[in-house]
Amino acid sequence: MTRLICALGQASIASKSDGANLIDLIKIISIESFFIILTVSLFMSAVFVGLFIWGASSGQWDDSKTPAHRLLWESEDESIQ
């Protein structure tokens, strides 16, 4: 998986800069652990994107006023029996 991303990353950079030597580009991206943290960071971002889509589509932020106030209404002192 990581190797695949590594290869894709190199290929995409190679295709963008025309005339560049692929070998040089591979030399530039010579630090493999970057691809590990890149993978994990992207995965983490994907999780957050997923959460964002869920939050937005389920209307979490449709109301951007009352939650701030509700925090104060829900004082536990009022609800103690």
């Binding site: 493999e32 652990s33 590990i36 943290i37 994990v40 999780v47 925090l71 829900e74 536990e76």
Partner: protein, 719 residues
């Protein structure tokens, strides 16, 4: 089920437990910090005892204040506010207490192993592998408990604080696992699968994000809950708080390389780190202003209420440290600040100001609520605030002055281009007064904490009863609570039935099930993939780097055990004044067998990457025995025990085998003869010591291994 009313018992017992743990571990962690601060001014305070030496205790200090003090403070905030925001008891009491006791045992294990020298020698990730596994398990239990509490919530909207908690929980799990993947050589010794520059990148990706997701986002969640509560004002802009959250989590992850400027890390990666670090300015300041503006129209309360004073100064410290962070991550600024006390000032404005004051504010808010009492004395709380504030100012100002002074002295040159202060010691002597002032600041901060302890004892003592669990009637809104999930919480059941019902409950919730499976898959996959790609060693053309000899490897083990990286870097940056002081620039391939990397982040003493061959063996011997004999005015601890402790010849083959597994090309025959080779080289070093200074009978002592390692450092460059 009755849909109109529901009786809920919030679990405050566990909140009280986490609160006590925060206070107790906080005091211990800070006292250790004060001791090591004092050691820098007065090295005799190392007492010549291994477990009290700076290199070992510094790791204990950082781990205790981050994971014990801040960690327990986070859990206090999460367990208290989550129940109230979601209007339900935490999902599982069992998981809660497992989390509590598990975490305290982990801290206890850290407090024992770190002074004994069992350390992975990666900053803020020093704990050895069995403890790392325990952390992962406890963290996952915490995560499941938190996510399942969200599942059984009685409030549809997830308040912004909960998002901050959730992001912290997800991110810390991943960071911790990725950074700690290592191959054990024994129960308490292991080597990371990454080497050199690779290890450095992963470590600082972790280090930076640990600050982000352990010391920032959970405390922002705390801020967004407790600050409006204490001020009884809604947050200035709820919309801004949501923008704050999402922009922070998406930008933070990419800023880590700013810890590795001018290093062997590829240039483009350093630039990526810088760009994202500067982008962090915006959301951080948006959040700070949101916190402060929440007090609009309530500033008169700040004058009277110590809780709000702590929060205001805490949020201001957040603003200061998040202004300074991007500033320090501008490469040109970092050139001066890196390796100096400026970094130390920066983290302590964050730790003492932001994390500390937000925690104290929260605790003063919680004491009356959790113990059904009133605060014993507002005057004492105000005194605490005053003492701690002056303490922070003394700390920060002295370390800023120290860092900038030393940085400028390192780079000062005469008209002919030679160094103005070629002797490193001159730059240490110049900043020693700052060390004293910093320690005084620490004394004030801790004195304030002790006042808080007294105030807390008195307040709790006054409480008429240790109350029964708080009773709350919460309206159950239209969200149905699955009966099988509900049954987990509402009735006492055996653990076996609990697990069975838990499984049913999770299965009924596709999103969580998918997320957990994905996480499991990812961890499993990475465990296989990472060693595979990293064991391929790339040797640059025309260069041959030799792995460490058995004796050098053993010496490196001692270097790691004593925590030398806490004060000595191994990274000569491509800066002309630096090469003039230390020698040739450090190159990536020189570190290719360094598991873990030892670049360091602070130069309390000089860089060591080119120390090999600089001094005779005898110099190192005398220097370890008493640094003041070779370097008058030195503030380094004495390492007398290295001269008397027997060198361990027996575990070297296990260590080399572990190194072989992470990709160091030791031949099986090398490992087979390792003990003999190690003894032979030890005799060589011992004979040189005898020749140079008549030192007798040290061929089986640890000092010879350390000398062999130090003399090897940087020799690859001259080849």
């Amino acid at each position: 089920m009755n849909r109109s009313n529901d009786t809920v018992f919030y679990d405050d017992k566990i909140v009280r437990a986490f609160l006590w743990a925060t206070m107790i571990w906080g005091l211990i962690g800070m006292v250790v910090g004060l001791l090591i601060a004092a050691q820098l001014y007065y090295p005799a305070l190392n007492f010549g005892i291994p477990i009290l030496s700076f290199g070992r205790l510094r790791a204990l200090h950082t781990n205790a204040v981050i994971f014990a003090f801040a960690g327990n403070a986070i859990f206090t905030a999460v367990y208290y506010s989550t129940q109230r925001l979601l209007r339900t008891r935490m999902f599982s009491d069992f998981m809660g207490w497992f989390h509590f006791w598990g975490w305290q045992l982990i801290i206890l294990a850290a407090a024992l192993t770190l002074p004994l020298g069992f350390s992975q020698s990666k900053e803020y990730a020093e704990l050895e592998w069995p403890i790392d596994i325990a952390i992962a398990i406890v963290w996952v239990v915490f995560a499941v408990n938190f996510i399942m509490t969200m599942k059984i919530r009685r409030e549809r909207h997830l308040y912004v604080a909960l998002w901050f908690y959730l992001a912290s929980i997800i991110a810390i799990a991943m960071l911790h696992i990725v950074n700690n993947i290592s191959i054990p050589a024994s129960w308490l010794v292991s080597y990371p699968v990454y080497a050199g520059a690779q290890d450095a990148l992963v470590q600082w990706w972790y280090g930076h994000n640990a600050v982000g997701f352990f010391l920032t986002t959970p405390f922002l969640g705390l801020m967004y809950y407790f600050l409006p509560k204490a001020a009884n004002r809604p947050v200035f802009s709820y919309r801004l708080s949501i923008i704050h959250f999402w922009s922070l989590v998406f930008i933070y992850i990419w800023a880590g390389p700013h810890h590795l400027y001018y290093s062997a890390l590829p240039e483009w990666l350093q630039s990526v780190g810088m760009v994202f670090s500067i982008m962090l300015w915006a959301p951080s300041w948006g959040g700070m202003l949101n916190g402060l503006y929440t007090l609009r129209g309530a500033w008169h309360k700040v004058r009277e209420e110590p809780i709000l004073k702590f929060f205001v100064l805490g949020v201001t410290a957040y603003g200061m440290s998040t202004f300074e962070g991007p500033l320090l991550s501008i490469k040109a600024v970092n050139k001066l600040s890196h390796f100096t006390d400026w970094t130390v000032a920066h983290v302590h404005v964050g730790a003492l100001g932001w994390v500390g004051f937000m925690t104290f504010g929260m605790i003063y808010y919680l004491i009356p609520k959790l113990w059904k009492t009133t605060l014993y004395s507002k005057t004492l709380a105000n005194a605490h605030f005053g003492m701690a504030t002056i303490g922070i100012i003394l700390y920060a100002v002295s370390m800023w002055a120290s860092g900038i002074t030393q940085g400028l002295m390192w780079f000062a040159t005469k008209a002919d281009g030679t160094l103005l202060y070629p002797d490193f010691m001159e730059t240490v002597i110049a900043i020693k007064p700052a060390f004293a002032i910093r320690a005084i600041g620490g004394v004030l901060y801790i004195a304030g904490l002790l006042v808080m302890f007294y105030n807390m004892f008195k307040s709790i003592h006054r409480a008429a009863i240790v109350e029964p669990e708080q009773l709350t009637i919460a309206r159950l809104n239209e969200i149905p609570v699955e009966s099988e999930v509900q049954s987990l919480v509402s009735e006492p059941i055996s653990f076996k039935i609990f697990l069975k019902r838990l499984h049913t409950a999770i299965e009924g919730w596709p999103l969580v099930f998918t997320a957990l499976s994905a996480a499991a898959l990812m961890v499993g996959g990475m465990v296989q993939i990472i060693p595979m790609i990293l064991t391929e060693v790339k040797v640059p053309r025309g260069v041959s780097v030799q792995p460490y000899t058995p004796l050098e490897l053993a010496g490196r083990g001692i270097y790691l055990r004593e925590g030398c990286y806490n004060c000595h870097s191994q990274q000569v940056r491509p800066i002309v004044e630096e090469t003039a002081r230390y020698g040739p620039i450090s190159r990536a391939h020189e570190y290719m067998y360094d598991h873990p990397f030892q670049w360091g982040s602070k130069r309390t003493g000089p860089d060591l990457h080119r120390v090999g061959g600089k001094y005779p063996d005898l110099w190192h011997f005398r220097h370890m025995q008493d640094p003041r004999t070779t370097s008058p005015e030195s503030i380094m601890p004495t390492y007398g025990w290295l001269l008397t402790s027997s060198l361990d010849f027996n575990s070297i083959s296990a260590q080399m085998k572990a190194m072989q597994r992470v990709g160091v090309p030791y031949k099986t025959s090398d490992i087979h003869d390792s003990k003999e080779k190690m003894k032979a080289q030890a005799v060589e070093v011992a004979e040189r010591l005898k020749e140079q200074g008549g030192i007798e009978n040290v061929a089986d002592k640890e000092i010879v291994a350390l000398i062999a390692y130090l003399q090897r450092l940087g020799r690859e460059a001259s080849k």
